[in-house]
Each structure stands twice: as structure tokens, then as C-alpha cells.
């Protein structure tokens, strides 16, 4: 764990820059994180981010692309447009959640 400053916010992050403390997340932080990966957040992005955070709060896991797609009725292809290249990882990054992972 280390701390980093993004857009004026001091954040606790892991080696890959993912937030490790969910309480440090806010909409301003999300906007700053999105800027880091070249994404400008619009209303559809926010819908996806709130879904991710709600799911993580309930299940303890970052939802998969498929789950976001079925849960929000957004085609997977469109998720690739909203968060181009590696959308699963990027959505998690901006939502302040761990990247989707396996057991090892």
C-alpha cells in the first residue's frame, strides 16, 4: 500500500494504483481517476459506476463485465465504448474497487 495524490486528493492505493480504502472515494475522486485513464465521465458512466459500487457493497466482489451488462441491460460492446480497452479493469479503477481477480 502507498499513498498518491490525484487531482488534489490524497488516496491510499495498491501497486497498480487501485484504491484500497473504499471510503476515500467520492464523485470528485472518480472524475480525477477517470481523467488519469483518459475517460470523461458522462451520465452513462455514472450509471455503471453506481452499479459497481452497489454490487460490491452487497456481495464483496467487483462485478464482472457480464454482470454489469445483464444488470444494466447495456451490451458488452457498449461497455467497451464507455471504458475503451480493458473495461473491466478500468470500471473498477474509476469506481474505487479492486480489479476483478481470481484466487491466486
Amino acid at each position: 500500500m502507498s499513498t498518491t495524490t490525484i487531482g488534489g486528493h490524497t488516496l491510499t492505493v495498491d501497486q497498480e494504483g487501485f484504491l484500497t480504502d473504499r471510503s476515500e472515494w467520492s464523485e470528485e475522486v472518480a472524475t480525477a481517476l477517470a481523467e488519469q485513464i483518459g475517460v470523461t465521465l458522462e451520465s452513462e458512466h455514472w450509471t455503471v459506476l453506481s452499479f459497481l459500487r452497489a454490487e460490491h457493497a452487497q456481495t464483496g466482489e467487483t462485478p464482472t463485465l457480464r454482470r454489469v451488462s445483464t444488470g444494466l441491460e447495456i451490451p458488452v460492446k457498449h461497455l467497451f465504448e464507455l471504458f475503451p480497452v480493458k473495461p473491466a479493469k478500468k470500471m473498477a479503477y474509476v469506481a474505487g474497487l479492486p480489479k476483478p481477480r481470481g484466487c491466486v
Binding site: 495498491d14 501497486q15 452487497q58 456481495t59 464483496g60 466482489e61 464482472t64 463485465l65 457480464r66 454482470r67 445483464t70 444488470g71 458488452v76 460492446k77 467497451f80 480497452v85 480493458k86 473495461p87 473491466a88 479493469k89 480489479k99 476483478p100 481477480r101 481470481g102 484466487c103 491466486v104
Partner: protein, 411 residues
């Protein structure tokens, strides 16, 4: 009389009824198990079948023979659970009432959820090893596979036994090498995740296993379809991977009746409290084993530790006491790494696999998170323990909750 109805006579369901049968007052409780058939498969054995190291006919035993006398075993499909009426309707129209219901119907591969997988190449050059039939057909396909490109592919998480695709890859690599075919075969591991290993410590300590064996990894691959004309695996971001042999791990889903009954999430897993396994919104329905949505591996090992905790909680619950035993997500798995060696991993909801010694802290004899022949022998010995100790619900000297003793966290 009170009725305990358990749907699914697999690893979790069998352990539950065998343990509760000894603990519930027989004059007060009837226990019934429902399963669609009477064949209990030792599923970890599927992994050995493609390499001729397990005889498919020896992996299956009768389900009812594993279940204690005094527990009723019913062979039937489950049609629907009516949670409002505390009833389960079976495929033949029979209705079973319950006071407490346990859903332990597991998860299964759904190759038809990915377009093209079950098309013209299915069971020819597109295979899977998560069913006994699939593993047996893959054995024949591997025997014929002399040269070309082998893709080992995971569709989407979560999957049953999440390390099995890696184990398959290691075993295939060593099997091909022993037969002198390795130089003619390219092996690619294709994952929707950001790497073959995603936990920092496992990744650092085990990443070399793939490099040394010249196995390439295609990451963040979100499969859209199999093109069965071109024999390629196609991703949403436009990547196209040609194959001569595709070994895919299909999307896994819970039982269809869970969805029909309105008890499941988008993949038919029952949302539960991860400490007590009580289905959310119900106080008389539990889900154990692979059937629930708990955020840990779908594996018999998890089911085993979870059942230990569940039994104590269940006895509290039916006596009207609060459920105070909490499951920590403990799992403990042998991971085959080829060449007669295996790794051992021990972890829970919060602690990733760490190096150390197991089961006796600092002593072992098993080494955690490193390859050894002893770990492989441990895996070889496991079927006997499964049939003779775990399923009958006999105690084994491993605590249900994970211990940090003997583990070290690298700086």
C-alpha cells in the same frame, strides 16, 4: 415432525445431511435429499482424465450410498421452490414441504452461453473438461493432437475450481513434453482477468512457472464468440486467436430452478449472508457449496469448511438462538503444476495465498505456494479422504477457519 429438505446430493449436500443426521433429534426431524440422479462424481478427478491418469469409470459412485441410513433420498429434477408456501415442486409434480430448505445444487458449465462454442467444432476441436463426458472426449482429442496451437480459455469468472484451468495448462505442457510433441505445440492461456495470477504474492512467486514452460498468456480477453468456420476465438475488442485445439472453460451458472424460483442472481446463484449462508430475505432457506454467491472459490474445499460452520449455526437457528459462528471464506487446495509436482494454497475472504508451511505451522510437512512432490502425493491421496472421511462427515484435523500461524507475508 419438522422437515429439513436438501436440494442437491453432491459434496456440500451429502456432508450436510451426514453431519446433521448425527446432530438432529430423529424423533423431531425428517431429513430428505433430492438429486436428479444417483451418480456422485469425484469432480477433482476430471482434471486427470484427459491425460489418461484417471479411469473415468472409477470417479463415480452411488449418491445414496454416501448418505447416512435414515436420510431419505429422492431422485428427481427440481421444478420450482415456492418460498411463500414452503414447498418444493419436483419435475414429476410431487410436492415436498419443508421447515428448513438447503439449496446445494452447485454450478455447471454452460457452453451454449457463448455463441459458436457448441457449433460445428464442438467436441471435435473445441473441448471442455468440467464434465466427465467432456474430459473423456478431450483425452481422445489430445491423443490425436500432434502439432498446432492449443488455447486454454476461461470464459468468465466465477468458475468452479478456479485453479483447474492453470493446472490443466501445466499438466498438458508436461504431458506434451513427455511425448516429444512440445516443440510442435504452442500453448496460450487465455483469461478475462488481467493475468494468469492476479494476487500480488502468488503472481510474483508463481509467474515464472508459465515463463519457464514457454506458455504465453492472453489477458483481459472478453470472449464474444467462436468462429467455427475460421477456427478462431474472437474477443469484443477485436482480437482473433486461431486454434487447432480449444479447451474452453464455459460460463458457469447455478441451477435453472433457482432462477425460476426467483431466488438467484443473474447467474442463478443464491445471494446469501457470507458468514451464515442464510439466503437474503429468507429465514428458512440456506445455500451452501457452489450454489451461493459467496465471494470465494467455488470448490469442495470451501464447501467442506463452510459446512462445518453451517452445522453449528443451523442448530442455533432452529433453536431460536442467533447464529454466532462466522465463516471466513477458508479454502485449501492442491494445485497440480506438472512433472509430478503440485503447489498447495491456503487462503480466505481477506487473506490471499501466502507462502509458509502447512498444516503444522513452521513444520509442514506441506509447503505453501511452492512446488513439491509431496504436495502432488497429497493430491493423489485425496480421493480416499474424500469418499471415506469428508463425505461421511467425519472430523478431519483441520480447523474451519484459516490460521495465519506458519504463514509469512513477504515485505
Amino acid at each position: 415432525m419438522h422437515e429439513l429438505l436438501v436440494l442437491g446430493g453432491g459434496t456440500a449436500g451429502t456432508m450436510i445431511v451426514n453431519k446433521l443426521h448425527k446432530r438432529l433429534e430423529p424423533t423431531l426431524w425428517n431429513i430428505t435429499v433430492v438429486d436428479r440422479d444417483d451418480a456422485h462424481h469425484y469432480q477433482p478427478g476430471y482434471l486427470q482424465v484427459p491425460f489418461g491418469a484417471a479411469n473415468p469409470t472409477r470417479l463415480t459412485r452411488s449418491r445414496h450410498a454416501q448418505i447416512a441410513d435414515g436420510v431419505r433420498f429422492v431422485t428427481a429434477e427440481v421444478d420450482v421452490v415456492d418460498a411463500d408456501r414452503n414447498e418444493v415442486r419436483l419435475g414429476d409434480g410431487t410436492v415436498l414441504g419443508y421447515d428448513q430448505l438447503v439449496i446445494a445444487t452447485g454450478t455447471s458449465p454452460r457452453p451454449d452461453e457463448t455463441p459458436g462454442v457448441t457449433g460445428a467444432l464442438w467436441r471435435r476441436s473445441v473441448h471442455e473438461f468440467y464434465t466427465l463426458e467432456g474430459a473423456t472426449l478431450l483425452r481422445d482429442a489430445l491423443e490425436r493432437f500432434e502439432r498446432g496451437r492449443l488455447l486454454v480459455h476461461i470464459t468468465e469468472m466465477p468458475i468452479k475450481c478456479p485453479v483447474a484451468p492453470l493446472e490443466f495448462t501445466f499438466l498438458a505442457e508436461s504431458w506434451l513434453r513427455e511425448r516429444g510433441r512440445r516443440n510442435d505445440v504452442e500453448i496460450v492461456y487465455v483469461t478475462p482477468l488481467s493475468g494468469a495470477f492476479t494476487r500480488p504474492i502468488a503472481s510474483e512467486r508463481l509467474g515464472h512457472l508459465l515463463e519457464e514452460r514457454h506458455i504465453t498468456v492472453e489477458t483481459d480477453f472478453v470472449v464474444e464468440r467462436v468462429d467455427d468456420q475460421a477456427a478462431t476465438l474472437e474477443s469484443y475488442d477485436g482480437r482473433s486467436l486461431p486454434f487447432d485445439l480449444l479447451v474452453t472453460v464455459p460460463l458457469n451458472m447455478g441451477a435453472d430452478f433457482v432462477g425460476r424460483s426467483g431466488l438467484g442472481d443473474d447467474l442463478n446463484y443464491v445471494p446469501v449472508d457470507p458468514q451464515t449462508f442464510l439466503a437474503r430475505g429468507h429465514d428458512d432457506i440456506f445455500a451452501l457449496g457452489d450454489a451461493s454467491d459467496i465471494p470465494t472459490s467455488k470448490a469442495g474445499s470451501v464447501a467442506h469448511f463452510a459446512v462445518d460452520v453451517f452445522v453449528e449455526n443451523f442448530l442455533d437457528h432452529i433453536a431460536g438462538r442467533p447464529m454466532t459462528h462466522e465463516f471466513d471464506g477458508h479454502a485449501n487446495c492442491f494445485v497440480e503444476s506438472g512433472d509430478g509436482k503440485a503447489l498447495l494454497i491456503d487462503f480466505n475472504y481477506d487473506v490471499e495465498p501466502l507462502p509458509g508451511r502447512f498444516p503444522v505451522p513452521y513444520v509442514g510437512p506441506m509447503a505453501l505456494l511452492e512446488e513439491s512432490r509431496l504436495n502432488h502425493l497429497g493430491k493423489q491421496a485425496f480421493p480416499w479422504i474424500y469418499w471415506n472421511v469428508l463425505l461421511p462427515g467425519r472430523p478431519i484435523p483441520l480447523p474451519a477457519t484459516m490460521s495465519m500461524a506458519g504463514k509469512h507475508v513477504p515485505a
